[in-house]
């Protein structure tokens, strides 16, 4: 399932694009009834495309590292001629007449789209327990949520149904499923990858990004999404001298002890490889969350208010969020964007002392389907608030963040951490993340749940 090794096998004719696609479609047929990761499977189109890509390779036309690689898109990215539901009933029959910019980029890079992946309704939530298309399940324990909103992407990747998937992230929707499903996801710098043709949720918070099984696969996919070909690395990645900041406040304040231990252990590993680890104190991250939630509520309701009369066509949780957003005065929205400006300036000072940050992606591992709250120490917290508490701050700041697995709970569920860098710091995140991935070298993450 490693993209680069699969690509090598394709170019050496040990396997064909058509064989890869048929294998993936067979796995989807076998596993999707159990996981519900896909909303739409485009098998015939995928096979036709794979055959065309085999013909290209035979003629010496190589589209790059993703040539012939089976992928799927979150069903919030528009796909020409293929319905794009955004996990909603109101758009159940919506068939776009154009592709999202990132769908086009990945097609140009030679990827084979197998279909559209399930999500939390409207991308407006984290459980992916979708009232219209059914609950998406976590392959590590099918009674647990995969996280969301890009839950189908996380589930399909963990189960090995695709080698790469797209996700979107407005408050953590790439990183939360990455954490709960034991896969890797990159939320790039705000605006770096075009959201054209992605159903909006929060215009000033939305990001689109790659998700895959390994950091290197995410790096290759990210290059393709930027319209670039991955150049072979001149030397292996290193973390010698890298100044890693570990927040001493907020990000470890209310975290499950097993998550705390796994992330701290990863940090120790990086220190043993030559990184300079520094405990740092951050400004008020809770203020970022409050500001971000208000902005998201308003922006999302501006998109979806046209359907407000169709109460019965929405899940209860999502409808309540639309109602909330419609009740917030415009003056408060503007004021929140001013608070945001102030907070970004305050937080940016952290980059004087460190090159990147490490924190848990989520304070807990995957909750059960239907579970409304999680208990962390003495405090009971809403699953939605807990899941986004550590991810949302970086949507508000617009900084890039890479989520990757770093261990397992005693119950066998993945635990994730996130690296964060200043705007434009994706290369640093992907390089440092690859070092950590090599050092952890847990075969369970590449193999997936058996």
């Amino acid at each position: 399932v490693n993209i680069l090794e699969t690509g090598q096998a394709l170019r050496e004719r040990r396997i064909s694009c058509a064989e890869l696609t048929r294998d993936a479609l067979a796995r989807i047929e076998r596993e999707n009834p159990r996981l519900n990761a896909f909303i739409t499977v485009t098998g015939d189109a995928a096979l036709a495309r794979a055959n065309a890509l085999d013909a290209d390779l035979a003629r010496g036309i190589d589209h790059g590292p993703l040539h012939g690689i089976p992928i799927a898109h979150k069903d919030a990215l528009f796909t020409k001629g293929v319905r794009t539901t955004v996990g909603s009933k109101v758009l159940a029959d919506h068939v776009p007449d154009h592709d999202a910019a990132m769908v086009t980029r990945l097609e140009q890079a030679g990827a084979v789209m197998l279909g559209k992946l399930g999500l939390h309704e409207l991308c407006h939530g984290v459980t992916s327990n979708n009232p219209h298309y059914g609950a998406i399940r976590n392959p590590w324990n099918i009674d647990c949520i995969p996280g969301g909103s890009s839950g189908g992407s996380g589930s399909a990747l963990a189960a090995g149904l695709v080698a790469m998937a797209t996700g979107t992230d407005t408050g953590g929707s790439i990183r939360i499923p990455a954490s709960y499903c034991g896969i890797v996801g990159l939320k790039p710098t705000f605006g770096l990858l075009s959201c054209e043709g992605v159903m909006p949720l929060g215009f000033t918070l939305d990001h689109v990004g790659p998700m895959a099984r390994t950091v290197r696969d995410v790096a290759v996919s990210f290059d393709a999404m930027r319209g670039r070909r991955t150049a072979p690395a001149k030397e292996p990645p290193r973390v010698n001298g890298l100044r890693i900041g570990v927040p001493e406040n907020f990000f470890f304040d209310r975290v499950d002890p097993e998550v705390m231990l796994a992330v701290r252990r990863a940090v120790q590993t990086l220190a043993s490889l030559g990184a300079r680890v520094e405990e740092i104190r951050l400004p008020d991250a809770d203020a970022l969350n409050t500001t971000g939630r208000l902005i998201q509520l308003c922006e999302a309701s501006a998109v979806w208010r046209k359907f407000i009369e169709r109460r019965d066509d929405f899940g209860e949780d999502v409808y309540a969020l639309i109602q909330q957003g419609m009740l917030i005065p415009a003056t408060d929205y503007v004021e929140a964007q001013r608070v945001r400006h102030m907070l970004v300036r305050e937080f940016a000072k952290v980059w004087i002392d460190v090159d990147c940050l490490i924190a848990p992606s989520t304070p807990v591992f995957a909750p059960a389907i239907g579970q409304a709250s999680v208990q962390i120490g003495e405090i009971e917290e809403d699953v939605r608030i807990a899941s986004t508490r550590l991810t949302r701050p970086f949507n508000v700041l617009g900084w890039p963040a890479l989520a990757m697995p770093c261990g397992f709970s005693e119950s066998g569920l993945p635990i994730g951490l996130q690296w964060v860098a200043p705007p434009g710091g994706e290369a640093l995140l992907l390089s440092a993340g690859a070092v950590l991935e090599d050092a952890i070298a847990d075969p369970r993450f590449l193999r997936g749940p058996v």
Partner: protein, 54 residues
């Protein structure tokens, strides 16, 4: 804030059963927002995206 009255003015459907789901989280959010608003200077602009886009 009288959310129910506001809902009436803005034509937001909000029945009694919605109160816990809709109003309580808003009240909670506004409690956290109040002290933040007080810190905004007169000349503070709105947020603009970081300069790393394509």
């Amino acid at each position: 804030m009288d959310w129910e009255a506001l809902a009436g003015v803005l034509h937001v459907p909000l029945d009694r059963e919605d109160a816990a789901r809709v109003i309580a989280p808003l009240e909670n959010m506004y409690r956290k927002l109040e002290p933040l608003r007080a810190t905004v200077a007169l000349d503070t602009p709105m947020w603009t995206p970081p300069e790393a886009g394509e």
